[in-house]
Amino acid sequence: MKNIKTTLIMILMVTIIFSGISVNAEEAKYGGTLNFPLAYGNPGTLDPVWANRIEAEIVTSAIFDRLVKMNVETLSPEPAIAKSWEISDDGLEYIFYLNNDIKFHNGDKLTAHDVKFSYERVMDPEVSQITDLFNSIKGSEKYQEGESEHISGIEVIDDYTLKITLDRLDISFLNTVGKRGSEIVPKDLINEVGDEFSNILVGSGPFKFVEFIQGYEIKLKAFDDYFAGRPYLDELVFKIMEEAAARVPAFLTEQIDFDLVFSAQLEQYQSNPKYEDCFVKVPELWTRHIAFNTEVFDDKRVRQAFNYAVDKELVVEKIVNGKAFVATGWLPKSSPGFNPELEGYQYNPEKATRLMKEAGYSVENPFEVEILGTTSPDWGIPIVEAISPYLEEVGFKIKPVLMDGASIGPLENKGDFDATIDSGGGRIEPVDYLSAYFWSEIAPDAGRSTRYVNHEFDKKIEKAYKTPDFKKRMVLVREAEKILVEDPPVWFFNYSQAIGIVQPWVHGVVKNPTELLLQPYDTIWLDESSPRK
């Protein structure tokens, strides 16, 4: 009897404790408006076939859905429009099973026909700006050349089953159907309204398009029939504000609910005790670097010396205000391919001087180099100016050249430069992250502006592209990266860290390493203390 009593008391206590916890964890609430800044500027147009920049993707992700979406923690695809999928053993056939209860904002049902239409639309050179998105789907080339009316590799099996056949192994295919450009648009509506679609923007995402005032704001409102459940917010307003100095007062006066903090603004926010617990920090998928034109930097020792010459720890701490991690190689901390054992280049001016000497350069007879860059405080000319003294000490002569971003691209493509300071990466698949800039198959005007050629590296990349098994592929990725570090095409500077600041009443903001401004807007909610509720 006593035992039973004790057990009952225990059960009661446990119940009380757990109910206490569930009371503490606040329940998500509906309602309110979220004012979210577009810190990269005006997206211009939001039609998915034109939305090839992050500015647009931030907004289109709220209006449209894709077959899959990325889990921001594992960086692997999870169900969205497709509730499940199967991949054939050779990795060439994908069968997607779609949710059968998805509606577009105009009430039309979303079916496999819409998916096929959307993918063909984005590959159509007549209407699209992103015509390389689905290059690996069988028949896409014939379609683009006008030889066939449809892409043969996309087959509608029934209304909710879609089969996609590739003509070569594409290890990033699932990433592709989850990223910008692959949004699903309503076939019947577009056939009816044509180009006018860019002004009405009907998708199946959690928010409906209301209004776009160019250069100012984009207004969306909740879609009640969203298949995954109505979003918590009533309204989502994107404020176009690329001026960081102007976002700070807007945040402090509570006009915006979030801010992407640049290193120059970090201290201002950090010095405000009110916001102590309001920071979101995430290592990003970007590698800041100085790319060498290897036709100018043709001596490996010079490139190595450049890497040994600079005390990166100090530069990151003092100039970047600690908003980054010192780079040991090319793949950043947040990449699934990151190699924590890689040592990279430690600060070693003696070794740098020796290597320069071996290559025939010294302080008296320096290696002269022009470094192009923008005004970006994190990866622009201010960094070049900060590291110049280190480099000049070991036998470089640095001339920083300030340019606007738009002018640098064409010079890089033509090879008319010595070096540029830049930020690269942005891809989830580690092989893509490595190959895009350094694989000799990539043309110099398609991203390999370094003109880097290393056949050992190429072999690893080519093998990795033919390896569907993730673990085996990562072994090759590590080997490739080691080769890259030993024969460096760039100065490995840092892996950036994105820092956001969130008003205390906003809940549900996630740490997205691909882009902190890309948030799951449907699960973000506001508590009562929001001024817009």
């Binding site: 500027g41 160019q214 102007a246 738009a406 691209g409 493509n413 690269g424 990466g425």
Partner: protein, 319 residues
């Protein structure tokens, strides 16, 4: 000269000025077209994320779609042909007509410039006039000191300081945006835009008024026994207005140009923001359209000023 003859002279003057303006505009458009085409950078490259690599085929496709692959003289003739039809082309960045972009942006800028101009002329001329009348006094000293500060302080800094002081600390005014479109959202941007012009006008007015005060006709007017206020308003102020109007007119153009900074820091969707975005993205049709409108504004303002001269000083003829 009978008023009818004067009227006719005026009209033919205005017509000839307008014709000249068209020539000026044509020269500007042409120069701009060729200058922009030699500007480094490529709209097609910038359509995608500049940090990502891009397929050259895609870039070529876009260039073809925008007609950038055609020879420059063909593009120029095409542009001029459309321009004469009143069509400014299609923006690369937004895929909408430049006409509609400008039609949406212009009213915001016009409102901002107009308010700033009214603020600057009223306050600037008043301060300058008071300073001149009380030359050497403490008020004179203070207003001229403030004028120097006002001219020297960069607008960007002034705007941010006003924002921190009046909206972040005191919470009196909104820090930016259009809000509900009410006037209070225009106050900070308008003041930011006005301050240098207030300062400049105060200084100009002061020196111009001082100069006129020394003229014989002012002494005569006073000797006639006219009331002091009549002397000040009718004789002194009116005769000092010519340089003031010249400066105001020239600076009105400057105000238009400075909206670029002010609209950016106060997040307003006007012409200034539009032209900056367009230049960054090498959106050539939009840049051309905006600059054409800016030039047109400048030319019209100058014409207006020339006409005002004649009204203020009958000795100036348009023959």
């Amino acid at each position: 000269m009978s008023s009818l003859v004067y009227h006719n002279i005026m009209i033919s003057y205005i017509i000839s000025r307008l014709l000249q303006s068209i020539v000026t505009l044509l020269v500007i458009v042409t120069l701009l077209f060729f200058l922009l085409s030699i500007l480094p950078g490529d709209a097609a490259l910038l359509a995608g994320d500049p940090r990502m690599t891009q397929d050259p085929e895609v870039i070529a496709n876009m260039r073809a779609k925008w007609g950038l692959d055609r020879p420059i003289h063909i593009r120029y003739l095409d542009y001029m042909y459309n321009l004469f039809k009143g069509n400014l082309g299609v923006s690369f960045l937004t895929n909408t007509s430049v006409n509609s972009l400008i039609a949406n942006a212009f009213p915001h800028t016009f409102k901002l410039v107009l308010i700033s101009f009214l603020i600057s002329t009223t306050i600037g001329i008043f301060l300058g006039f008071v300073a001149a009348m009380k030359r050497g006094s403490f008020a004179d000293l203070i207003s001229m000191f403030l004028a120097i500060v006002g001219i020297s302080a960069p607008r960007f800094w002034v705007g941010l300081m006003l924002m921190y002081f009046l909206s972040v600390s005191l919470n009196l005014l909104p820090s930016g945006g259009l809000g509900d479109g009410s006037l209070k959202f225009m106050i900070l941007p308008a003041i930011t835009l006005s301050i240098p012009l207030i300062a400049l006008l105060a200084r100009t007015t002061r020196s111009s008024v001082i100069e006129v005060t020394r003229e014989d006709y002012v002494r005569t007017a006073r000797a006639k026994g006219l009331l002091e206020n009549a002397v000040r308003i009718k004789h002194i102020l009116r005769n000092s207005l010519i340089p003031i109007i010249t400066i105001s007119g020239l600076q009105l153009g400057g105000l238009l140009a400075n909206t670029v900074i002010v609209e950016k820091i106060f997040s307003l969707p006007g012409m200034g923001g539009l032209v900056v975005d367009s230049i960054h993205r090498r959106d050539l049709p939009a840049v051309q359209g905006c600059i054409l409108i800016f030039s047109l504004g400048f030319i019209l303002i100058n014409l207006l000023i020339d006409l005002l001269y004649g009204y203020l000083d009958p000795r100036i003829s348009y023959g």
